[in-house]
Amino acid sequence: MSQQKEPLFQAETSRHDKKRPLVKNCIKAFVVGGIICTIGQLVTVLLIIYFPFTEQTAGNPTVSIMVFLSMLLTGFGLYNKLGQFAGAGSAVPVTGFGNAVVSAAIEHRSEGLVLGVGGNIFKLAGSVIVYGVVSAFFLALIKTLLIQWGVL
């Protein structure tokens, strides 16, 4: 039913729509995402210089520090301001994961600690964990098999 009306309707609405500044948004996201990654690199270098981590092993603690920082910033209400300005630039690096966890927890705090916070804390970030674990499982399986067969 709506399919007959849609082309006309859409043409009409898009005529009145404000055009999205796509290129500008992309540049903003690129710059802010790059700055976040620069800070991550800084954390890696600090871990290498002042703690017994090598370039190989410094990756995991860096990720957790960056997630923790973005969780703090989300709690103070600063990260959503950044997200409004940068869009995907603040969501795509791992810091977006911390933001997704904490913002869901804050949002559902009024429904109580168990059913509210506990039930909803992984509402957004849960899919990251599920698909991350599943794809890691299959990749590890493939790698193990390839090593067993002597390909790698």
Binding site: I35, Q41, V45, I48, P52, T54, E55, Q56, T57
Partner: protein, 142 residues
């Protein structure tokens, strides 16, 4: 105020990258004096490899520790460089335990050990245990 703070943090974080590219030059040291010939040989080989710029070679009787930095343009071929060097070393020194690394942390630690060795304020025993520590750090996995 806020903008100034952001600019300061940005500039300091970008400039902190410079510490990674501070050139130290080729350096080599021995723990046991019987290995002098070994390190000059290895240093010559490393000098000939145009992809490397900072190298540290530390030799003991039973083990060799070599760390290096790869020039930025050649970092895509890091695996190949390591393979070539390792094959050459294994061929030349078959009865020594060889540790080869391009990791920055290994470089830092072995450079510190080199400085201590060249200033002669470390005993042979301490130097050996420190070298062992670096080797175990290199073999550590996530």
């Amino acid at each position: 105020m806020k903008k100034g703070l952001i600019v300061v943090i940005l500039i300091s974080s970008i400039l902190s990258g410079c510490v990674l590219f501070e050139e130290k030059g080729a350096s080599h040291a021995v723990i046991h004096t019987s290995q002098e010939e070994t390190i000059t040989q290895i240093a010559e080989r490393l000098e000939d490899t145009k992809e490397l710029y900072d190298t540290v070679v530390i030799a003991a009787d039973s083990s060799l520790l070599i760390s290096y930095k790869v020039k930025h343009l050649y970092r895509f071929d890091m695996k190949g460089i390591e393979k070539d060097l390792e094959a050459w070393l294994k061929d030349q020194y078959p009865d020594q335990e060889i540790t080869l690394s391009s990791d920055y942390k290994i470089f830092l630690e072995s450079f510190q050990l080199f400085e201590k060795l060249s200033q002669k304020n470390i005993s042979e025993k301490e130097a050996l245990s420190e070298m062992k520590k670096i080797i175990s750090l290199k073999n550590e996995l996530t």
